[in-house]
């Protein structure tokens, strides 16, 4: 295998809770893992073990406490995400790294179509082109056209999750971080999402997912890694 797209070395993450007598919590201890282009690494483990924290460290929603997260960037070459400048991280989020959180964080009053297209707007794509791509994705995700102009705030859990996934996929990132992507989906939609993941892999996207779904999603992963 060529050298990995992402390589995590000795990652630690602790939180200092100043409001609770400075208590320390360390959800991530000495994690080492890597993923290559086109691979899908599935992280499995009991809840509360810190799996989401690993994804959030990569995306820099959490500031890693120590260790390195090497990413082979198109724009910046090989860089350590744990230390990269905020502007670099923002640019990577726009163009190279997508993250689908466990729950959709919708902007109130923004339509499903605009919510989905926002990553494209941020790239500076004009609205008409972005929305054309957005409509294709909504179709693919099986969201009824009647809902496209409505706010996802009132959507069902499964519909929200599909919008959420679409947002992560739409900008065609080279690395996709997926937190429980199939958790709230019915069987048919789950198959749609698995097909999306496989198509992205085929295009060379590296995927790290966190999931309990060993039988469904897990069966399609390149590798599984149990986090204990």
């Amino acid at each position: 295998m060529s050298h990995p797209l992402l390589e995590i070395r000795n990652l630690h993450k602790s939180f200092t809770l100043h409001l609770i007598d400075g208590r320390e919590i360390t959800p991530v201890r000495d994690v080492n893992l890597s993923v290559a282009a086109g691979e899908h690494l599935l992280i499995y483990g009991r809840s509360g073990m810190g799996k989401t924290s690993i994804l959030k460290c990569i995306y820099r929603t959490y500031l890693p406490t120590s260790g390195q997260i090497w990413f082979d960037s198109h724009q910046f070459g090989r860089i350590d995400l744990s230390r990269a400048a905020e502007s670099v991280i923002l640019s990577l989020r726009e163009r190279e790294i997508g993250f689908c959180s466990q729950f959709l964080r919708v902007l109130p009053r923004v339509s499903a179509l605009d919510t989905l297209c926002e990553p494209l707007y941020r790239q500076g794509m004009d609205r008409a082109t972005a929305q054309e791509i957005g409509r294709e994705w909504l179709q693919r995700l099986g969201i009824s056209p009647a809902l496209w102009q409505a706010s996802p705030l009132t959507f069902s859990g499964g519909e929200q999750q599909r919008i959420n996934l679409g947002r992560a996929f739409i900008a065609r990132p080279r690395l996709l971080l997926l937190d429980e992507p199939t958790a709230s989906l019915d069987e048919a939609t789950k198959q749609v999402v698995i097909a999306m993941i496989r198509a992205a892999q085929a295009e060379g996207t590296a995927i790290i997912s966190v999931s309990h779904d060993l039988a469904g999603l897990g069966a399609h992963a390149t590798r599984q890694w149990t986090f204990a």
Binding site: F15, T16, L17, H18, L19, K56, R60, T61, Y62, L63, F76, A85, E86, S87, V88, I89, L90, S91, L107, P108, R109, V110, E118, Y121, G124, R127
Partner: protein, 279 residues
């Protein structure tokens, strides 16, 4: 694109009062005070550093009195800093230190490159001029001369800010609170500034009215990619628009980071308090 900054604030400071030898020790975030208990000096903004990249929205949060408006007024060139620099550059051109501009240059700069919107409409608007008059005032100061073009620009801005264009000759007191904020935004955007400064512009508005103003800003940001500095005491407002956020307390920047990081992994004890009380 990474080093695409348009504004860089370095060690910018402003105090009000006589100062004494104990001032600095007795003020700041660790003491929970901005005002020196010995001499009464207020340390409104102390050694602030920040960088604004072209097209981004940067949020500034902090409780009332933390120095947000002071910082904004210095950047607006309406308040002279005690020390520090405000570097500005257009499209990667040579940086200029705005603190060295004379009064005339500063006024022209303010009217061409900057726009500002305040919480209180009477600060941003001349309440005795019509909407058209307010926008024209800004454009005349930016050295626009052609009456027809000024009128056309005003109509265009009213559409953009969702104001009924037929109300171009109406005066501000006849508008609702939410509309007044949109009139201010229209005026601020008139000369196509590179930087929009927003000081608590939705504070005091009803939730639904506030929402509409924020939606408008989001749309303007998506469409025009205008750079914005968004000041609010409300983390909920900042999170809706800003991807990076700065946290101020007692005149100091105590934390700066990606907005999601500030919300989910705040480092400074004060930020942790702010986040926990906002949730």
């Amino acid at each position: 694109m990474i080093d695409d900054w348009i504004l860089r604030v370095e060690q910018l400071s402003k105090h009000f009062g006589p100062t004494c030898p104990d001032c600095r020790r007795l003020t700041g975030p660790d003491t929970g005070r901005s005002q020196c208990p010995r001499c009464g000096t207020v340390w409104a903004c102390v050694e602030a550093n920040l960088q604004l990249n072209a097209g981004e929205v940067l949020g500034i949060v902090g409780e009332s009195g933390s120095g947000k408006s002071t910082l904004l007024q210095m950047i607006y060139l309406a308040l002279r800093p005690d020390s520090g620099h405000i570097w500005y550059r257009d499209n990667g051109g040579p940086p200029r230190d705005l603190t060295t501009l004379d009064r005339y240059e500063a006024r022209l700069f303010r009217n061409t490159k900057l726009g500002i919107v305040y919480q209180r409409p009477e600060l941003g608007l001349n309440m005795r001029f019509s909407v058209g008059g307010n926008v024209a005032e800004k454009l005349l100061l930016a050295e626009w001369r052609h009456f027809g073009r000024i009128r056309a620009r005003t109509a265009e801005l009213m559409v953009k800010t969702e104001l009924p264009p037929e109300r171009i000759d109406d005066e501000p007191p006849t508008f609702s609170g939410g509309m007044l904020q949109r009139v201010q935004i229209a005026k601020a955007l008139a000369s196509r500034p590179s930087l929009l400064l927003l000081d608590e512009i939705t504070s005091g508005l009803d939730v639904s009215v506030q929402a509409r103003v924020l939606d408008l800003l989001r749309r303007i940001q998506w469409e025009d990619r205008i750079t914005m500095l968004l000041v609010s005491h409300d983390l909920g407002v900042v999170r809706q628009l800003a991807r990076r956020t700065i946290v101020m307390k007692n005149g100091h920047i105590v934390e700066a980071g990606l907005t999601d990081q500030i919300l989910e992994d705040p480092q400074h004890p004060y930020t942790q308090l702010l986040v926990s009380s906002a949730l």
